[in-house]
């Protein structure tokens, strides 16, 4: 009898874990982007994401299956963000004004899930970059070098590397948007 109870409990827990992992894996990009939009600092956003995922797991029993997982996760993330700021863990220089923070929050909440094609379009657009620009993006994101490291390696000013990365990001955004709009037209 005890063994059966124990096995049933384990079974239920496994089903719960699978359900959570599946949902979380599908939607973590949206939740992380929500956090990053309000705490635009990778290191701090990572911390808040960790706290958020932990709280989502703890409260997963309260999540009503079939409802909007992202909306639920974003609400939890919102309060993790406030908590992060409140406890003064935040070293970030960028503190949006209250009204701007509200505007960003409202907008970020309403953003649509990026389609799976988004990543395919992004890869395609990276391939289309000039060799110089593509190299810069690879060093920054694939090799995960900090801008300062890139600038030190190549003897360029930090500012010029930032400006170039910003420029290339603009090109990529334009390229991806164009690809998405062409797909919609088709």
């Amino acid at each position: 009898m005890w063994t059966q109870l124990f096995e049933d409990t384990l079974e239920k827990e496994n089903v719960k874990i699978e359900a959570f992992v599946s949902l979380f894996a599908s939607h973590q990009a949206r939740i992380y982007s929500f956090i990053l939009s309000r705490i635009p600092n990778f290191s701090e956003a990572d911390d808040v994401m960790q706290e958020t995922s932990k709280m989502m797991w703890i409260k997963f029993d309260e999540f009503e299956r079939g409802t909007d997982f992202v909306a639920w996760g974003v609400k939890i993330a919102h309060f993790r963000i406030l908590e992060h700021r409140r406890t003064r863990k935040s070293q970030q220089k960028i503190h949006f004004t209250d009204s701007l923070d509200r505007e960003i929050k409202d907008k970020a909440e309403k953003r649509q899930d990026k389609s799976k094609e988004y990543l395919a379009f992004l890869k395609d657009c990276i391939r289309k970059l000039s060799p110089q620009d593509r190299s810069l993006i690879l060093l920054r994101y694939q090799q995960n070098l900090k801008v300062k490291e890139i600038s030190e390696r190549f003897g360029k000013s930090v500012q010029s590397i930032y400006q170039n990365i910003s420029r290339v990001q603009g090109l990529l955004l334009f390229c991806v948007k164009k690809a998405v709009s062409l797909r919609v037209q088709k």
């Binding site: 109870l5 990053l36 939009s37 960028i94 990543l119 992004l122 190299s135 993006i137």
Partner: protein, 562 residues
Amino acid sequence: MKKPDLKTRSQISYYLNLALEGLLTDEEAAQLNQLLEQNDPAQDFYLDLVEMNYALRKLDWTSGGLPVEADSGLEENLWTALAVYEKTAPAVEVEPTEEPAEKKKVSSPAPKVEKRISRMSIVMAITSFAALFLILAYVHLFPRVYPEATAVLLDSTEARWANPAHSLRAGDLIMNTDQTRVLLSGVVKVRSYLGPEVIVEGPAHFEFPEMEKLRLHSGRLYVKVPPNAIGYTVQTPFFSAIDLGTEFGVKVDVDGSGDVHMFSGKASIVSGSRGQTRESRLLNEGGASRILKDGRIRETLLNATAFVREIDSQRRVIWRGEPVDLADIVGGGNGLGTGLRGSAIDPEGAQWYEVSTIYTETWPGRKPSDETYQRISFNSFVDGVFVPNGETGEVIISSAGHVFEEAPPTSGTYWHGVTHWDDSKGRSIVLDGDRFGTPEKTALLMHPNLGITFDLEAIRENYPGRVITEFSAFYGVSDAYPDKKVQPSADFWILVDGQVKFKKLDVKLLQTGRIQIPISQSDLYLTLITTQGRENYSAESQHKGPTYNDWCVWGSPVLRLD
């Protein structure tokens, strides 16, 4: 929607990249704020960038035919530098990756072991399962409450807390594990986890134990629930109000009885304590219920101003649903009674002054040295003042350049400024038997020829989420001045964005009326004008001007909000 220009996009992108690495300076952060503030397209671009940064960071570089090494396309000197860096970089000790040689297995027959289960093991197993069961049962029966934020304080005004350790400032979180808070006085505005905004007025005992619920032990509060949070519940000792998409106020007396007043939408009221329902009732907009301690629910009258419905500490706004008083605004107030009665705005020099002595003496009519529209800088709700005279050309009546097309010819003279009248400082103003110029019934005294324009958009900013629906006022010529030898006669005009919405010409002594002008959300300027009546105007006459007893009054001039 127009996308931001290239310069703005570059700046946003540059600042974001700095921020992502934690290298943004305060000054740059402020500039980024400035670029994004109230700029929809810029915010969209910013969010696009954030999402792309995340995507690039998480991109699977090993699939999809992406190059996994940087091309040799960067400027040649960069790669030369990289080569030098690599040659001169300190050697990195690498751990050997080869697996150690597998140990040769020596096979030998394993000795046969007789399987025996000791009695001790069985006891241990049963004990372990029993312990596990108890743990599971405990967790189920006494679930651990994890501390988490259920609400955040948005604003407060003159809040005094019983326990200083419980005091809250804007941005502070309220946790589900917090003890009951006691607000001795003042008002606080809180946003619950799910979005409802709650305004609590001291003295009040309250807590936010769950996301979907708040508990009011005593005191009063106002709740505005957005559609996504329908079902939000205000629990009190003897009843609960369950929202069905509404705005409502709840008052709980010290003995636990209380009221629910429904300002919009519907709510369900359930009386009874400890899960025992005594009565329930659906309360509709405009209705109110009194819930007695024994659970009986009785109808009562809605009190439209019983609850604080909006606060803004910076603008000193504590709004209970009352209309915005334009006389109070002329007195330097926020429209809710904070202005100075007995003060005026004079078109001469566009100045604000106290009228303590002026009305006790004869104050001759005069012409302004500058006849053009006078912008007001010291009062954000008043756009400007002017002395109308259609004889001298276009009469501009707003900073946007609206023109008073029907402006009649006048003498161009006026008596006194636009005045927030104080009846305790001199004469009483009576219209149709009602006394105005009191704190309850304010009055704007506008002896011809005068005009004042209010900035509706600036007033709206004070009440976010509210709509100005109507301007209403009494108008008439008071008999405040004792000399009845000269018959007063004056014209009253109301214009919205330069369009005449109301005019009453040649209004005589004691002639009064009430007006209501609908205001739409797109209306920007409301203008009130008085001009001398036709009977007091004669181009040939030597006496050309308003009479000294043209005491033109706008009684209770208010804007109604919804």
